[in-house]
């Protein structure tokens, strides 16, 4: 029926993917992010030529190093699409604009570059809002171009007009309305600079149709320079020194990393710090992979579905070193019981993240990577002799907590969702890029897949938007063609952007979707079970399509497993195929995610089973 062939041997192509990936993320990307400029040589090229706004757009995109655009056309952007073939830029046509943004988001996270989208005005633009909000909450650098009606019609309720600058103001780092061709070059330059520098984030550029058609003289603008905007990368030396002194004195330190560790490429420095001071490490959902998931000092994730040991360690520690994390309520639980005995050091590039939710003893505004480098260097002057000896009782205590309540589940005759995730981990040797939908699937992916390196776990953290995983898998696979990409999905979420299977098939992107099919909106059902006396209102999803047939209808491959024995063969087969595959795992219906901290409780008060 299908002529999908087996994949090329995963080992080699994966290694290539890795090499590129590492270089981009650890060196180039953090550098280019800091300088605020792509690979271009600004200032001289093409002086004196007259070009249309659309051409100018692409000239700057090329100069910014853009290779791929995720998008969806329409009347307002038809001139832009018309110009696109003259430039060597790949366009991936998604089936929904929301998916284009999620794909660009994941592309950015796995390539280290700025993700780029192009959509039309009105409905095209409004369809991007969820994707933009998700990228905003997770600080992902994106530039989203939206079409706009001709500038003369703005404000007239013209056909497909919408004030997208107004709509996206609270969920973008910044946004622009471009009404004249003469403003295109400089604005696009600024948009990329803003998206990638400082605390990264999405920038919307709304392009009026006449600004794209109009012709003006084009000079490639120099690096962006903006009066009111100058991110601070270098930490205050005195503060770093204070941090080093606190660290040397502490008996029970814990390091708590967030997405900022990954965004700034600081995972090597984080590891150095942890080992140097023998401190256990936990991260947020967004920070997973920022510290090796197989390391001795690894506590696994903290917070609402964090491990017992991570949450207990936070509760008992005398020093908490927060790095690139924003102390979100899903992480802290009840604020007054969060790290109640600890002095807190908080490193973040964004001053608004510091002191927002918890009082901090040593605030350090700066880039995580640079700050950790300086901190590590400064610690060399502190007395760290016997530090691992001194902290032995603390590590013993943590080991005891781990043994009291390890992450575990009990097998039964039905497939356990955790078992599926474990098998995926095993069979991909921990080397896959995992994207997730939202809900239980996301939490099990976080708990049972162990991430040893950054940029391999791609999830909608801050916004938690269902429908993220499949488009994200598409974005990740375009960035890393050699790597295995698996979307760990719920049967509810996958139906929010299932149409993107067509995108995967059309673009020959062999993404794998593992649906943990419990026939429920599982995470909400879990809350109903635990806190609403099992009144399951509006969470039954058993009226669903046959996912195997659905995959086939799209030209992908579909497989199903209904018993634990079938799990491994299905995953093996899926990984061998060079094709998009849906794996429908019919799992235990009423399984819950544990540990769980009830909303508003202290994180030490976990439900363990």
């Amino acid at each position: 029926m299908h002529d999908w062939s087996p994949r090329p041997p995963p080992g080699r192509s994966f290694a290539e993917g890795t090499a590129r990936h590492t270089v981009l993320n650890e060196k180039e990307s953090s550098l280019s992010r800091h300088n605020g400029n792509g690979p271009g040589s600004p200032g001289k090229k093409r002086k004196g030529t007259k070009l249309t706004g659309a051409k100018i757009l692409f000239e700057v995109l090329k100069d910014e190093g853009v290779e791929i655009i995720f998008g969806y056309p329409g009347g307002a952007v038809i001139d832009i699409y018309d110009t696109m073939p003259q430039y060597d830029i790949r366009h991936v046509l998604t089936r929904h604009e929301q998916a284009a943004v999620h794909a660009a988001d994941a592309y950015s996270r796995t390539s280290g570059k700025v993700g780029v989208c192009l959509v039309t005005s009105g409905p095209g633009a409004t369809n991007t809002v969820t994707g933009i909000a998700s990228a905003y909450m997770d600080s992902i650098p994106l530039v989203v171009f939206t079409g706009q009606v001709p500038s003369s019609l703005i404000g007239n309720d013209a056909f497909q007009e919408v004030d997208i600058v107004g709509i996206t103001r609270p969920c973008t780092k910044h946004n622009y309305l471009v009404k004249e061709a003469s403003r295109v070059a400089e604005t696009v330059r600024e948009a990329f600079y803003l998206a990638r520098s400082g605390r990264p984030g999405p920038v919307v550029v709304d392009l009026c149709k006449d600004a794209m058609a109009g012709e003006v003289e084009f000079v490639l603008p120099p690096a962006a320079c903006m009066k009111g905007y100058s991110p601070k990368y270098e930490p205050h030396k005195g503060q770093v020194k204070k941090a080093a002194q606190l660290i040397a004195k502490s008996k029970r330190p814990v390091i708590f990393g967030g997405g900022g560790v990954i965004l700034s490429g600081a995972s090597a420095e984080l590891r150095t710090l942890a080992e140097k001071i023998t401190a256990p490490v936990t991260t947020t959902l967004m920070g997973l992979g920022g510290f090796p998931g197989t390391h001795d000092l690894w506590l696994v994730m903290l917070g609402m579905h964090g491990t017992f040991r991570a949450n207990m360690a936070i509760t008992e520690c005398d020093l908490l070193i927060g790095i690139g994390a924003r102390f979100d309520d899903r992480v802290t639980g009840r604020i007054d019981s969060f790290a109640p005995h600890a002095k807190i050091i908080h490193i973040d590039i964004d001053p608004t993240s510091i002191q927002k939710n918890v009082p901090v003893n040593v605030p350090i505004v700066g880039d995580c990577k640079i700050t950790l480098q300086q901190l590590n260097a400064m610690l060399d002057h502190e007395d760290l002799a016997n530090v691992s000896e001194k902290r032995r009782p603390w590590l013993d205590q943590i080991r005891a907590w781990k043994e009291t309540a390890p992450l575990a589940y009990t097998q039964c005759k039905n497939i356990k969702p955790q078992f599926v995730v474990e098998k995926i981990y095993e069979l991909t040797r921990g080397e896959a890029i995992i994207t997730t939908e939202v809900g239980q699937n996301q939490m099990w992916a976080a708990q049972y897949y162990h991430f040893d390196r950054p940029n391999s776990f791609v999830t909608s953290g801050g916004l938690g938007c269902m429908g993220f995983g499949l488009p994200a898998a598409i974005g990740a696979q375009t960035a890393c063609p050699g790597r295995t990409v698996v979307d760990i999905a719920g049967d509810g979420s996958i139906q929010m952007n299932i149409q993107e299977l067509a995108t995967a098939v059309e673009n020959k992107l062999p993404v794998k979707v593992a649906i943990l099919n419990n026939g429920y909106l599982g995470m909400v059902r879990q809350w109903q079970q635990l806190f609403k006396d099992r009144r399951y209102v509006a969470t039954d999803m058993s009226h669903a399509p046959d996912f195997v047939k659905l995959a086939e209808a799209y030209g992908a491959v579909g497989m199903r497993a209904t018993t634990p024995e079938e799990v491994e063969p299905v995953i093996r087969k899926a990984l061998e195929l060079d094709a998009p595959v849906i794996m429908d795992f019919v799992v235990e219906r009423e399984e819950c995610v544990y540990p769980m901290v009830p909303a508003g409780a202290a994180i030490k008060d976990m439900l363990l089973v």
């Binding site: 107004g166 009066k227 608004t352």
Partner: protein
């Protein structure tokens, strides 16, 4: 619970469409009311100054000040809460002035150093500037006179001495 404090904040911004809405959005997004708002060009036509008064608990006010600084179009933020500043606002007050009240209105206007800027057979329009207290006091005194109409500007503020916002 923390006490709500009054904050007068002076914000130097790019003089561009949409900037005011970005600033105001930071308050509305947190469910904060803006008590008074004033915007006008500065000596440099590409910059505007927003003077804004709001009430809130200290910790959220600190957040807002930081968030304001983060806005790309914001060049400088000064919170006058902890420093000594001069605050002024202006009001135009239209007040009934029939034969019975005319003398009384003029007397009050004189005490408050107001200017009468418009006269008609039935009413006076008087202009008053000063800090909030002075304007409130004037209004209180005029209220018994009868049918009152008022237009007030928001607060504008400037630091005393050399400290504070330049430009």
């Amino acid at each position: 619970m923390n006490q709500e404090e009054r904050h007068t904040i002076s914000i130097l911004v790019d003089n561009e469409p949409g900037v005011l809405s970005r600033v105001a959005g930071l308050f509305s997004g947190r469910g904060f009311n803006i008590a008074s708002l004033n915007v006008a060009e500065t000596l440099e036509s590409e910059l505007s100054r927003i003077t804004l008064v709001s009430y809130g608990v200290a910790q959220i006010q600190e957040q807002i000040n930081k968030q304001l600084r983060k806005l790309v179009n914001v060049v400088k933020v000064t919170d006058f809460s902890d420093s000594d500043c001069v605050e002024r606002e202006m009001a135009l007050v239209k007040v009934q002035s029939d034969a019975e009240h005319r003398a009384e209105v003029l007397r009050i206007a004189d005490i408050f150093r107001c200017k009468v800027v418009d006269v008609s057979p039935n009413d006076y329009t008087i202009e008053v500037t000063g800090n909030r207290g002075k304007i409130e006091a004037l209004i209180d005194l005029l209220r018994p006179v009868g049918s009152l109409e008022i237009a007030r500007t928001g607060v504008i503020a400037m630091a005393r001495s050399k400290k504070g916002t330049k430009k």
